[in-house]
Symmetry: C2
Subunit: 423 residues, 2 copies
């Protein structure tokens, strides 16, 4: 039985019990949140998923890592290493965004080795298969490729259903600095122009939903109109599309399809709250999956940091799922190191938001590391550290004359000087 | 004449004109803000300061870089390299926190080569001079060393005047996970215990102010009680000290001394706003100088990121001056690379906040880089990038087959696909 259907019947499956236990929530709450669409558990009916997770209300903020080949860089072994770094670094989900040759071979290779939810953007493969000749891509191609992904066991798919003729007109009438930065959205927009047709994912949304139902595929409604410049944030195309996504989410939910809503993008710090509140309202509380948001345009090389600032803020206001951003964003396909750095930055953002929301397991860890810090118990600090290996390396790299302090303050360690305050 | 005195007389000096021009504010506004203590221009009367800056209301958020030796690592040439990295990376001020041998020699060497405001924490030297034997440090030592710093041309000094017997009692009664993490605060606390005396900086505050007046030294009132763990944030010792700092600020302002208030520290995301609003209220709008704040305890090795998240948020609510945090925080004395990484993270936080506050020059730069991005004009993007060198290296490191795109999307570049939307 599909997850929503089973939740609506109030069945506490082993999956529900495991996730509720891990998150410290009641199974009954989880069931009713899945039934009403405010929480999802992305999982293809035909895949054995080792480490599933819940995304939504009252759960820890989750982090996604993007990987995948591009025409310029298509070594599947490198992508496997990225996958392994993502999993061991604590990513909750990955998306394979491959656009290099052999998209399906790459996907099957990676998914077989992936213990966590696996997502894709099927439109890429529809276009890659026709060698980027959009004039040769048919509406059937766009629908058919979705079936291939579902058959391969993909757990969640980004579908830019909201890039419609109507929303495209809003875009054309806008004064954006950068028209579109969504790759899937841009491909569909261009396809619509060339073929003078409506977006097939929208025109044939019922077919899409039937397919999703068959495989219990979670749909992530893509934000083709997400702003790529701070100046373009919260404009008519962006919010027009978001409103439409809310209607599509309602339709999907009615059919028992788990649905996530994707969000921006480049957004000034003070406009993030509006994005989250609006999404929750227009999309009936559905999980919000944000890319960043990036709070500055000027920091190529450091966009894991601009993204962590925005992500922490968005998640503290209620965004449920953070798509990581790497230091390579805007510059190149990320390297293995970039994946690690991007993931750590996003994990920090998610954790900071969970702390702000009072999540008990997040707080427990900070309390433990702080106690170890007060005691100057270095090994224990590393145990609770986000990245024990890096912390250990830093400490080792500069010797101190006293084993219980660090080389910053050495003899003048404030923790040591005041250790008897509460003694 | 001292800066506040001259501002109170409404004199538009060349310094005032230059800073007002650079910030795009009216000289009259700057004068009245200096007169009322909501803005400061740290500058020792006897120093020729090449690049002064204003810190306070309506001005861009400023960033400070800490450097200096420690007993474990005391190479002055390395510290000079850090200073140069700070200045060329766009730091607005530096603080020399040296505690290695030859504190004064180091200070004089660095200050002579420093074009931006130079700050110190004089208590360190008072203690280092007595080889960390606090029992040998006299109250006169603590006052006298301040004069040495002023004579050497230091522009602003951190003085932990708020670590009083009364506040220490609040600390002792508290249930903090980590009693104190302020080095200067801890030294004074311990000194008070050993000598059974009140903090000399507090007991002899009038003398301190007279000295500050003589050199037009800006006083940065240190937060000895800043929390070192999220759990300890916004507690009685912290806010008790803040309240006292507000009273001290009023006293200093009356005497025409420019004053800054220092703030935390480790603070959960959702408690940052309260810190800023409260500081502004209790301290009569005086500039707020925060260390981070760090929004997670668990990320040693990545605390430039936890600090950038908190810093961006704090500055967007009104904090004026961010003290950078490096990836080495909690682990070792920062290396030259750590200084660079920490500075960039803080600059991003400051910029993101300036964007949120509608600062025109901040917005202009983001608009320029976004236009260059839309045009796929790589050289122009680098011109407006925070760190052109790093951005260039990233792009170069992975070749793409087409000169106008990057290796992430290559043929599938959304900017290229949709370049005719507004054509």
């Amino acid at each position: 039985m599909n997850i929503i259907d089973s939740a609506r019947q109030g069945i506490v499956t082993p999956l529900i019990r495991a996730i509720a236990g891990d998150e410290g929530v009641k199974p009954g709450m989880l069931l009713s949140d899945i039934a009403s669409g405010v929480t999802v558990i992305p999982r293809n009916k035909y895949r054995t998923l080792k480490k599933p997770c819940g995304i939504g209300r009252g759960l820890r903020t989750k982090v996604n890592v993007n990987l995948g080949t591009s025409p310029d860089c298509s070594d599947v072994k490198t992508e496997l290493k990225k996958l392994n770094v993502a999993v061991s670094g604590g990513a909750d989900a990955v998306m394979d965004l491959s656009t290099g040759p052999e998209v399906r071979v790459t996907r099957r290779f990676l998914i077989a080795r992936c213990p966590i939810p696996f997502g894709t953007v099927p439109i890429y493969e529809a276009v890659v298969k026709r060698h980027n000749r959009l004039e040769d891509v048919t509406a059937d191609d766009i629908i058919d490729v979705l079936k291939d992904h579902a058959e391969d066991g993909v757990d969640f798919v980004t579908l830019h259903v909201g890039v419609t003729r109507n929303i495209a007109r809003m875009l054309e009438r806008s004064k954006r600095l950068i028209a579109m930065v969504s790759r899937g959205g841009a491909l569909l927009y261009k396809w619509m122009k060339i073929h003078r047709q409506e977006n097939p994912l929208f025109a044939r949304f019922d077919e899409v939903l039937d397919l999703a139902k068959e495989y219990d595929l979670t749909i992530s409604l893509g934000d083709g109109m997400r702003p790529g410049a701070l100046k373009d944030a919260n404009d008519r195309p962006q919010f027009g599309e978001l409103e439409l996504l809310g209607k599509l989410q309602k339709q999907a939910l009615k059919k028992g399809i788990q649905t996530i809503i994707e969000g921006p993008g480049h957004v000034p710090l003070d406009k993030i709250r509006d994005n989250v509140i609006r999404q929750k309202k227009l999309c009936h509380g559905a999980p919000f999956y944000v890319l960043g948001p990036l709070v500055a345009d000027i920091a190529p090389g450091y966009d894991h940091i601009t993204g962590a600032i925005g992500g922490a803020l968005a998640a503290s206001y209620g965004a449920d799922f953070l798509c990581y951003v790497t230091p390579a964003e805007h510059l190149r396909l990320p390297s293995i190191d970039d994946v690690k750095e991007g993931l750590m930055a996003s994990k920090i953002a998610a954790h900071a938001a969970d702390i702000a929301k009072g999540n008990k397991s997040a707080w427990a860890r900070d309390i433990q590391i702080s106690k170890a810090r007060a005691a100057r118990d270095w090994e224990k600090q590393f145990t609770y550290a986000l990245d024990p290996e890096k912390a250990r390396l830093y400490r080792k790299s500069l010797k101190t004359s006293h084993r219980d302090v660090c080389s910053m303050c050495s003899d003048y360690c404030p923790l040591k000087i005041t250790e008897d305050v509460h003694a």
